[in-house]
C-alpha cells in the first residue's frame, strides 16, 4: 500500500449537508415557476387491456390541458440510454398507444391551475376499453404456450424483432467446458433460488417541472441520476435540438437506481408544458410511484461442481427475470448478472443462460446492485451449502476460491472487463472473523432454546464504474470544467449527480487536493445544468468517485499545469521549480520557488493578476473515460436471533468490512455501508411488492407501512454495528479510491440466510425470509422428525 499525506482526502468535512439541515436544499418538487399549472396522471385500472378510445373533451371544458395516447410522439424509445444504441431494446412511447401493459401505467395526464382542479378534470375523462386479458403475473404464466403476447414486436437498435413467448431478451455465455468440469468434480450440487421484487422507496417521489422557453426550447428540473441522458432523450422524443433543451441538475431525495433511466413522468410533464405553452409541475403521489418502478426479481438454478479439497471445477447458472410491462435495461442486466456470477469465484468452467420475460407488472429497473444482490444470494448461500457438504469452514472455502488480485473482473457484463489490482478480500474475511468472534460459532444441531442465535458470513463486491481497457456495450465517461476564479476560489462544473452518498463533497476534496485550495473554497454544489457542463453518463454502477472523481482529477491537473506555467512567468522561473501547497492559516493555496517559501504568492493574487492584466481565466474543460472497473469488496458477518415460537428474526449485531481503496469521505462511506445494510435487511427479511393474482394490483395499495421498510427498531443495537475498512490502495483510482455504494448491499441477504441456517438448521432458498416462512419450515422440520421417529 502506498501512503500519502493528504490535506483534504479522508477528512470528515461535509459542506453539501448544510443546506439539508437548514431546510434550504431544493428538490425538484420545491421548484415553482410563476403561472405554473399542476399536473396529475390517470393511471390504468387494468393490467393488460386494449385502449380503444380516450376522450378528455369534458376535462378540457372545465379548463384542463390534457394529453392522451393520441397526442404523444410516435417515437419508440428506451428511457435508459447508458448502453450503446445497437444493444438497447426499445418498446415504449411517452404514453401507451395501443394497450396498457400493467395496472397503474400512466395513460392520460391533465394540467390545471391547481392540483385539485386537475384532479377534478381527471374524473371527467372517458376511456373506452377493447379486449382485456387476464394479467400474466408470473414467469411460468408469461412463458406458457397459451399466454397472450404482451408485445408483438420491439426494436433492438434499429432492428425490428418479433417477440416470442413474451421473452424480452436472452443472454447465454460459456467459458470452458462445464460438462467436463462436472465430470472432474467429487460433489455436484444444484439448487433453485428466488429473490423478490422490492420497491425502491426513495423518499422523494418522481417529479418534474418544465418551462417552455421563448425560443421554442424547454428548461426542465426533474429527478434524475444523469441530466445529459435526459436531455438527449427529450431531444429525440420531441424533435428539439439539444441546444434548446436545458436540464437543471438538482438534488435528489434518494433514488437507488430508479432514476438512471429518464423517469416516465418527465416526458409527460414536457408534453403537457409544450401543449399548454405554460410551465407545468408534476409531482407523483406515493401510490403513483409504487406503480412506476421496482427492483428486478431473479430465479436462479445454480449447479456447482467441487473437488474434495474444495477446489471448484464448474458452475452452471440459469436465471430468469420477470421484468414487468417494459424492458428498461434487461439485456445489460442479464449481462451484469453473468459478470457478478463469473467474478465471485474461480469456477474454472462456466455456463450461463439468462432469460428476461415480460409480465403485466410494474416495470423493473436497477436498484442498488443491478442483479448483484440477487445472484449473490444464490452463490453465497451455495458456498455455505458446499462448505457443509465438504466439512470445511465456510470462510476457508471462500478464501480458497475467490477472484482477487491479478484475476479478471467483469465490471459490467462480459464486454467490460479489467484486471484486479487492489483486493482486501483475505484481510476482510480474517479480520472480520476475529471481530465477529467467528470461532465461537456453534452448529445448529446443538441449539435447543426458544430463541436461537446464529451467525452467518457472506461476501460480495460491486464494480467501480463501467470502464475497461476497451469500451464495451456501456457508455462511460465523465467530464468537468474547472476554473480558478479571480479571487483564487475554484468553480467545478460537472453534470455528475450526488445521490446522497457524498459524491460532490468527494469531488470537491479531490479538486482541493490537486489544487491545494481549501475545500470550503470549491464551488460544486449549485447552478449546474446541461448547458454549462460537458457530458457525464450517470451516477450509477458505483462510478461517482472512481469515474467522476477520476475525471475531475484529470481536469484539475490540467488547470494546475496552466496555473504553474502562468505563475512561472510571474516568478521568472521554470514551472518545475515551483511548489504548490495549501496554507491553511491564510486559507489559500500558495505557490513559491522551491526552497524559498517566504517568496510565496497566493493563487488568489496570481488569479487576480491574470484578471487585471487581461491575461485571461485559468481554466480547463475536458472529459475522461476510466479504463478499468476495479471491484470494491464487502464482507458481512451477521448475528441473528430466531424466535422459534413467533418466527421473528432479530439482528443484534453485525460486523461489516469494506474495501474501497482510499476513503475520501470517511463518515459518509460508513453511512453508505450502514444504510445499505438496512436496505439489505429489508430485502432479506421484510420487503416484497405483492400482487393481487386476479387484477394485477399492488396489495400494499401504495401504503408504506403495508409494504414495510426497516425502521430504527429493526436495526441492530446501535453500538453493535461495527464497520471497518480494509487497507488497500487502488492504483487506477483518484488518490487510490474505488467505489462503495452498491457493493455494500450485495451480500446482506445471504449473510442473513446463512445466519438463520446456523441458528435453526433450515436453509431458505427464497427471500424475504418472513416469520410466516420460518414458522412453516420449523413445523415441517418437526413433522419430518416425528415421522422419522415413527411417531
Amino acid at each position: 500500500m502506498e501512503k500519502e499525506q493528504y490535506d483534504f482526502i479522508g477528512q470528515p468535512l461535509e459542506i453539501k449537508n448544510i443546506g439539508k439541515v437548514t431546510g434550504k436544499e431544493l428538490y425538484s418538487s420545491d421548484i415553482n415557476i410563476p403561472g405554473q399549472l399542476y399536473a396529475v396522471i390517470l393511471r390504468s385500472p387494468h393490467a393488460h387491456a386494449e385502449i380503444k378510445k380516450v376522450d378528455y373533451s369534458e376535462a378540457v371544458k372545465v379548463g384542463a390541458v390534457c394529453i392522451g395516447p393520441q397526442d404523444v410522439p410516435e417515437i419508440i424509445y428506451n428511457e435508459r440510454i447508458v448502453s450503446i444504441p445497437e444493444k438497447t431494446y426499445r418498446d415504449r412511447t411517452v404514453l401507451p398507444k395501443e394497450k396498457v401493459r400493467h395496472k397503474g401505467e400512466a395513460l392520460v395526464a391533465c394540467a390545471a391551475e391547481t392540483e385539485e382542479k386537475a384532479w377534478a378534470a381527471l374524473q371527467k375523462i372517458k376511456i373506452e376499453w377493447g379486449k382485456q386479458w387476464k394479467p400474466l403475473l408470473t414467469l411460468e404464466k408469461a412463458l406458457s404456450d397459451d399466454a397472450p403476447p404482451i408485445y408483438d414486436w420491439v426494436y433492438l437498435g434499429e432492428e425490428k424483432l418479433k417477440v416470442k413467448n413474451n421473452i424480452a431478451c436472452e443472454r447465454n455465455i460459456e467459458v470452458g467446458d462445464v460438462e467436463e468440469g462436472f465430470r472432474e468434480a467429487d460433489i455436484v450440487i444444484e439448487k433453485t433460488f428466488h429473490t423478490q421484487r422490492v420497491y425502491h422507496m426513495q423518499f422523494e417521489t418522481k417529479s418534474a417541472v418544465c418551462v417552455p422557453e421563448a425560443d421554442g426550447g424547454i428548461t426542465v428540473w426533474t429527478t434524475s441520476q444523469g441530466i445529459h441522458n435526459v436531455r438527449i432523450l427529450l431531444g429525440n422524443i420531441f424533435n428539439l435540438p439539444l441546444s434548446k433543451i436545458n436540464i437543471k441538475r438538482i438534488t435528489l431525495g434518494g433514488s437507488f437506481g430508479s432514476s438512471i433511466q429518464m423517469n416516465s413522468i418527465t416526458p409527460i410533464c414536457v408534453a403537457l408544458a409544450l401543449k399548454a405553452k405554460k410551465p407545468v409541475k408534476l409531482v407523483s403521489s406515493r401510490e403513483d410511484d409504487f406503480y412506476d418502478h421496482a427492483k428486478y426479481p431473479l430465479k436462479t438454478i445454480l449447479k456447482v461442481g467441487v473437488k474434495k479439497d474444495g477446489t471448484f471445477t464448474a458452475a452452471h447458472c440459469r436465471v430468469w427475470v420477470e421484468i414487468g410491462g417494459h424492458n428498461i435495461q434487461a439485456y445489460p442486466y442479464l449481462g451484469c448478472v453473468a459478470g457478478w456470477f463469473a467474478s465471485l469465484y474461480k469456477w474454472k468452467n462456466i455456463k450461463y443462460e439468462g432469460t428476461a420475460v415480460y409480465t403485466n407488472k410494474v416495470p423493473t429497473c436497477a436498484m442498488q446492485g443491478y442483479g448483484n444482490p440477487q445472484i449473490n444470494f444464490a452463490v453465497e448461500s451455495m458456498i455455505d451449502i458446499l462448505a457443509e457438504e465438504l466439512k470445511m469452514d465456510p470462510i476457508n472455502l471462500r478464501l480458497k476460491n475467490y477472484v482477487g488480485k491479478g484475476d479478471e473482473f467483469w465490471g459490467q457484463g462480459p464486454t467490460v472487463r479489467s484486471i484486479i489490482r487492489s483486493c482486501g478480500v483475505e484481510e476482510m474475511l480474517l479480520e472480520g472473523a476475529k471481530l465477529a468472534q467467528w470461532e465461537k460459532r456453534v452448529p445448529h444441531y446443538q441449539k435447543k432454546e426458544v430463541i436461537r442465535k446464529g451467525m452467518g458470513v457472506a461476501r460480495g463486491f460491486h464494480t467501480s464504474g463501467t470502464g475497461g481497457p476497451n469500451p464495451g456495450e456501456v457508455i462511460d465517461y465523465s467530464g468537468a470544467t474547472i476554473k480558478i476564479n479571480e479571487d483564487g476560489s475554484v468553480d467545478v462544473l460537472t453534470a455528475l449527480m450526488d445521490l446522497g452518498g457524498g459524491t460532490w463533497d468527494a469531488l470537491a476534496k479531490i479538486v482541493a487536493e490537486v489544487l491545494k485550495v481549501p475545500f470550503e473554497k470549491i464551488g460544486i454544489y449549485n447552478g449546474i445544468d446541461t448547458r454549462s457542463t460537458v457530458f457525464d453518463v450517470n451516477t450509477h454502477a458505483t462510478r461517482g468517485v472512481y469515474c467522476g472523481g477520476g475525471a475531475v482529477k484529470f481536469v484539475a491537473e490540467k488547470v494546475k499545469e496552466i496555473l504553474l506555467n502562468y505563475a512561472a512567468t510571474l516568478f521568472k522561473d521554470l514551472p518545475e521549480n515551483l511548489v504548490l501547497s495549501c496554507n491553511k492559516e491564510l486559507g489559500q493555496a500558495i505557490i513559491y520557488p522551491r526552497e524559498i517559501p517566504e517568496n510565496y504568492k497566493t493563487i488568489g493574487e496570481i488569479a487576480e493578476y491574470a484578471h487585471t492584466t487581461s491575461w485571461g481565466t485559468l481554466a480547463y474543460t475536458s472529459t475522461l473515460r476510466q479504463k478499468n472497473c476495479p471491484p470494491c469488496f464487502i464482507t458481512h458477518f451477521v448475528e441473528v436471533e430466531v424466535n422459534t415460537r413467533t418466527g421473528e428474526v432479530k439482528i443484534p449485531r453485525v460486523v461489516i468490512m469494506g474495501d474501497s481503496g482510499t476513503i475520501i469521505n470517511p463518515n459518509l462511506w460508513e453511512g453508505q455501508i450502514i444504510g445499505a445494510f438496512s436496505r439489505g435487511l429489508g430485502f432479506g427479511l421484510l420487503e416484497e411488492t405483492d400482487y393481487h393474482p386476479e387484477d394485477g394490483s399492488l396489495r400494499c395499495k401504495g401504503l408504506v407501512t403495508d409494504y414495510k421498510i426497516p425502521t430504527t427498531l429493526e436495526m441492530p443495537k446501535i453500538e453493535d454495528i461495527i464497520v471497518r475498512s480494509a487497507h488497500t490502495y487502488e492504483p487506477t483510482g483518484p488518490f487510490g479510491a474505488k467505489g462503495i455504494g452498491e457493493a455494500a448491499l450485495s451480500s446482506v441477504g445471504p449473510a442473513i440466510a446463512n445466519a438463520i441456517y446456523n441458528a435453526i438448521g433450515i436453509r431458505f432458498y427464497e427471500l424475504p425470509i418472513t416469520p410466516e416462512k420460518i414458522l412453516k419450515s420449523l413445523q415441517e422440520k418437526e413433522e419430518n422428525l416425528r415421522k422419522r421417529r415413527g411417531e
Binding site: 431546510g23 406515493r286 401504503l703 430504527t712
Partner: protein, 158 residues
Amino acid sequence: MEEYKIEMKINGERLVATTQADESLLKFLRRNGFFEVKCGCEKGECGTCTVILQGKAVKSCITLALQANNKEVWTIRGMEKFELGRKLQESFVQYGAIQCGFCTPGMILVAKAYLDKNPIPDRKEIKREIAGNLCRCTGYKKIIDAIYAVAEENKKMN
C-alpha cells in the same frame, strides 16, 4: 368549498392566510412557501413532513391546517433560533447523519421536540422515540449517534 381565515405563528412570525376544511397542514405550509416541509407519503406513514406544533412533533400531512389555528408551528427553518436546534443541525452534519436529506428536517424536528422533554436519553430511548420517522438512506445509526451526541453534551452541562 368554504374558505376559513386562520392565523398562526410559524417560526416565530405571524401568518394570516386562508384554508379549507380539508386542507392538510402540509399542503397549507407548502402553499404558503414553506417548502422545507417535505412530502414523503401524505398518509402519515413516513414522518418526512414532521413539524413541531405547540411543542409536539406532528406529521403535518395528517394534521389539518385548521388544527393549527392560533397555534405555534416550527419548521426546520426556525431551528436556528434555538440553541438545541443549532446543536442538532451541527451534530447531524458532523456525524454524517444525512444522505439524500429528504427525511432530515423531520428527523431533526422529532429530535428537538424529544430532547426538549427528555434532555439526556440513552441511544436505546432515542432509537425508540424516532421509530416513526423513516429513512431509506442511512440505516439510522448516524442519526441516532448525532442526537445522542447532543444528549451527551446536555448531560455534561447539567
